[in-house]
Symmetry: C2
Subunit: 215 residues, 2 copies
Amino acid sequence: MVKVAEQLVDVASGTPERILLAAERLFSERGIDAVSLREITAAAGVNTAAAHYHFGSKEAVLQELFSLRAQPIADRREQLLSELKPDKSGRPVLEDILVAFLRPGLEALGTPDGMAFSMMRARMAFEREEVRRAALSKAFNRTSEMALKSLAKALPDLPNQTLHWRFHFLLGSMVYTMAMPGRIESITHDGIDTVDPEAALAELVRFAAAGFRAP
Amino acid sequence: MVKVAEQLVDVASGTPERILLAAERLFSERGIDAVSLREITAAAGVNTAAAHYHFGSKEAVLQELFSLRAQPIADRREQLLSELKPDKSGRPVLEDILVAFLRPGLEALGTPDGMAFSMMRARMAFEREEVRRAALSKAFNRTSEMALKSLAKALPDLPNQTLHWRFHFLLGSMVYTMAMPGRIESITHDGIDTVDPEAALAELVRFAAAGFRAP
DNA sequence: GTCTATAGCTGGATAGAC
DNA sequence: GTCTATCCAGCTATAGAC
């Protein structure tokens, strides 16, 4: 309904931006369905009606917020994937593909806003509501297919089905990591309890690369 | 509040069982928060008050349902993990551990009830509400730690932190697989679109085993 | 553009008849 | 034990004053 600043700034100036920032924080803290529009507007210091005026509905707030945050990540991923350099055998290097695919999302974990978005994104991957998974799909489908194509080139002997299974496992590991920053394995308390995005990236790339190369 | 039959049968006889079965189906289809107690009781063909009489609250219905379904899986996992045979070097075999850990959960995907539970379980892993993650934790903590101990024995050279990271990735792949039976990768339509639990198990074991063995 | 006020629902829970 | 009837809190959304 309303054009919102391309980049949300930390100190929100206008009413729409304040609403989006409040929504992002609350959605990530407590989940989407558990947060009411009233809470969002209260946290933003504006009136309930303002959200309806600027966005039209609670779902529209979510969608606007999502695409606003997802776009830069998808763009960066696309850029990195398109810059991949083949090795001397003419094929892209598996590890390079994984880094290009994973880095934009995982490094977002390093900032408070990015962490909030990541948790929201991870949770949306498990949503039943079509409209929400559709937002994810719309934002990231293109780059997922780019990555799959590169992976197929890097691993020419891998059957297509197996490649898809392994890409699926990669997504699971990625999403699970994005869902719980700061508490890797709440199950076992002696685990890793701070998330350094660089460490997460390095560990996941190493793990997945070996997995993709399995016979 | 009320003792429910240890094993839910397909043709539900009593009122509590009918409520649990309806809840299971609806929770898995649409998510927990999106389903009202009224819908559950309507689907079960009983009155709203019946659910409160038998369970006390909607949350209690969920908890009862969860522990009822989780227990057999955890028990089976524990049994399989305790039966692991060491190889000639005296260590458990990585693949055997993975199978023991994953099989009870993944093979549940083969039955309609099991599939419904798996999707509910996967979604609960991403919940913010403490009480729900606590149910997961309570049901599966013990066997997760058993698996971690066996993994440490099978991979004596792997630093503890790395082991935990990789176990975390394993959980992510497992949960992601359990969350979306029948549509591995909705992102790419030419992917795998039916889930044979045995195939999922075999693929995940191969992928993860290679990942755990990465240097 | 931003507010107050309220309409119109839907939710969980319960009291009390049977 | 199982119903009907109802309470009351909370929600989204909107109409209309300013």
